[in-house]
Symmetry: C2
Subunit: 478 residues, 2 copies
């Protein structure tokens, strides 16, 4: 009797076969391989790989915020509080946090939705941000925003009136959404951002997308990423009002991915919650889920896996279902929750940690602003490139002209033209960026996403590499 596998590509969850997450996809795998080759001394036309594929801030040189790290260290090991290097406000913060942990240990489970103290702090942060009341009961902590977005999208997995459910997402989008929709078996209804108008979100395009998707599915939710990822645009208040009205008319649940709200460069950020509130009835009664994370902003603690969702005006039964599912997973990392607490209530003027904190935060945000302006200028100065202004986020998403002959060469290699381009860029310069096809783009247009987080020197090295590569690539294929 020959042993067959119990689980095969034929009988495994077919939704899971369809998941693609370009940010950690084949280009990154190849980059990791090249890094190992370089270590072994294999000759390459470059000396190091420049990873610009993922918004992994610390990995790109952004230093951790000292206040956060001191709080984490003492929360883990309170005995270290004796150290004279630890400021009093750190000690106080740790005492507050440990008072809210059962028996004062970060090793005890917290409530599933998070420590009571931290949820209260989140609500205070939200109320101060928006000038709109916020309740800790609407706040759910999670292992980063991804965890919570998946949990919320899971609620929509249900045929309605015999039709399969669909979720509207922008194109280009962050592939967490396409990947999660695939995994959950939810249909993806694309609406295209308007590249010619700084990636604006156009109402008529929302309507088109909804109309087309509604023919064969029941559109249930609308995802908006603001500030945009990978596109970096920040929505105006007027535009948000249009979007909210659109969602209201079609009874769509708005999922607002607002994780880059602290990465603001040139335009003010408004939360969907605030704009809904300002619009008054009936819009101020709409359901809404908004997502924030410690992995972005000035904290950028990706590895700690902490974030929260504010989900307002959920029906009680729906809330109960969500909470039951969260309870099964026990709780998010308690140390991650402690970091979130620091982000929600950072040191203020007069506290011992403030001067250092304020200097660290300013340096990080200043570097981000500089890099955004440099990226915009430099990409636009490369013949064949165009790049919209970067209002927020930590990415550039330039458009690249790829010659016809290169497109045919890509097809011969079984690749999308932009994949082919990015792979060649990697092989010839060591620069690792993610092809636009991983985020979605209008047919016939080609892009890539690059982080703009590297230190100035490294960033300039990357820009120079891209410029040189593009000239030689264009020569080769024209």
């Amino acid at each position: 009797m020959k042993l067959e596998k119990c689980l095969t590509e034929k009988n495994v969850n077919q939704n899971m076969l369809n998941i693609s997450y370009a940010v950690r996809g084949p280009i990154l795998q190849r980059a990791l391989h090249i890094e190992r080759e370089l270590e072994k001394g294999v000759k390459k036309p470059f000396r190091r790989v420049v990873r610009a594929n993922i918004g992994d801030c610390h990995a790109l040189g952004q230093p951790p915020v000292t206040f956060i790290r001191q709080v984490l260290a003492l929360a883990a090991c309170p005995a270290l509080a004796a150290s004279p290097d630890v400021p009093d406000d750190v000690k106080l913060r740790v005492r507050e946090l440990l008072d809210d942990c059962t028996k004062g240990s970060v090793g005890a489970y917290s409530p599933s939705a998070g420590l009571t103290l931290v949820r209260r702090r989140v609500a205070q942060f939200l109320a101060a941000r928006d000038g709109v009341p916020a309740s800790p009961d609407d706040v759910y902590l999670g292992a980063g925003a991804s965890d919570l977005i998946k949990a919320l999208l899971g609620l929509f997995v249900q045929h309605v009136d015999g039709k399969p459910p669909a979720v509207m997402i922008p194109i280009p989008q962050y592939p967490l959404f396409s990947g999660t929709l695939s995994e959950l078996g939810l249909r993806q209804a694309n609406y295209y951002l308007d590249e010619e108008h700084d990636w604006a979100l156009q109402l008529q395009e929302l309507e088109r997308s909804w109309r087309e998707a509604s023919q064969e599915s029941h559109v249930r939710a609308l995802v908006v990423i603001n500030p945009g990822n990978p596109t970096g645009q920040v929505l105006t208040r007027d535009n948000m009002q249009e979007i909210i009205k659109f969602a209201y008319e079609h009874q769509l649940f708005i999922l607002a991915d607002e994780v880059y709200q602290e990465n603001i460069i040139s335009k003010p950020f408004h939360s969907f919650k605030k704009v809904m509130h300002e619009m008054g009835a009936p819009y101020s009664s709409m359901e809404l889920a908004s997502f924030v994370t410690c992995s972005k902003g000035w904290a950028a603690e990706c590895g700690l896996r902490a974030g929260f969702m504010e989900a307002v005006r959920l029906q009680e039964g729906v809330r109960a279902a969500l909470e039951a599912a969260r309870a099964v997973a026990q709780c998010p990392s308690v140390l991650g929750q402690c970091a979130l607490d620091c982000v929600m209530k950072p040191p203020v003027a007069g506290e011992p940690s403030y001067p250092r904190f304020s200097q660290e935060k300013r340096a990080t945000l200043r570097a981000l602003g500089e890099r955004a302006r440099t990226a915009h200028r430099e990409f636009n100065s490369i013949p064949g490139y165009s790049c919209n202004i970067i209002d927020g986020s930590m990415f550039a998403f330039p458009r690249v002209e790829i010659p016809e002959r290169a497109q045919r060469a890509a097809a011969d290699a079984g690749l999308q033209p932009d994949e082919f381009y990015c792979l060649r860029l990697l092989e010839e310069t060591g620069v690792c960026v993610v092809p636009g096809s991983g985020f979605g783009q209008r047919a016939g247009s080609f892009h890539f996403r690059s982080t703009i987080l590297h230190p100035a020197d490294e960033f300039q090295h990357m820009m120079d590499s891209v410029r040189r590569f593009h000239a030689s690539f264009t020569r080769q294929y024209s």
Copy 2:
């Protein structure tokens, strides 16, 4: 126009409405309410709530292991390494871990499956445990075992030959399984453990369960919890061989929940991987997923959310699907991974941290053993109670006689008899345990699960309370 909710109990994912997780269920909610009442000075027949509902070790007084906490503190804040209180082996461990983090920050993302170093350490731990080779490539780190069990079960959500998929789970079981199967829409095929024979896993019962479930579904996987939760039995090698043969014959994927493998009291633990290996072909070629966590054992760091799965001999396409889904979630908490590293490679004799570590570990395991013996003896000494021997885990699952009249009173109150019993126990004594119906039990038999982790005094107080309560309850209803 009246605003209706987008998400209602009618159109929400119906699987999520069915999730029940008794460990954090209504009894706990009531206990939390009572705690708040006590704080406010409301009079009760007891002075404090004794939470015995969840294996939350630190919350029940088990102290954290100093070595782990020092490593975490320094990994978060390497500047503290200057402290003279930090032993050299802690500093060395932190250096090793940070060398494996991008740019030396626990705030950078790790690879989705976990840090390379930690996966290697896990493989070394497994190889040493079993005397069987283990590969880091088969090791997936996660946010506790729950996270990974859900990820693996997700692979089975697929009709096969037109039949809905089912998964066999023990009864009584840990409700992570029933809850996750509900959420994923997988059918639950129950096999009953044999209470009369120390919760043995009987082959003929496995066959019966499989046969019955196979009539209307395709049984795809077999969950075994060893050491048992809530039952505390440890499987013998002979029994495991029978189970493996059974799974082989019916082409079932074995999910081995082995999270209590370090909580061993009176019987040796064998891993499924080792027993499969010993059995040779064809059994040594079977697929298997085994789960281990930092939340249990002597570390018991529940709040850090760290654990791993070893998944062996997966088909390549299946492995790719699993890895794609994991990539979307980015990575588990890097500080959690650091804790796992300490658990996989604790201090050894000759290292500076060893004496303290060894004393801490011994004290924890000794207390567990004492409490297991006390629980067994005391429960069996209460008229109307019987309790099997506790070989491992951190729970007792005594059987309780509930008088007919009490069963009718429960029905009148719309409760299961054991829920009624546990709720009364809570209201009259402050002792919070989980009714057996939350885990499953043979019809007409009644149990509850209690942790056995409290300090000796508190544990004795709990046992005395239960004894007094049961006598008065029985008097009242007989």
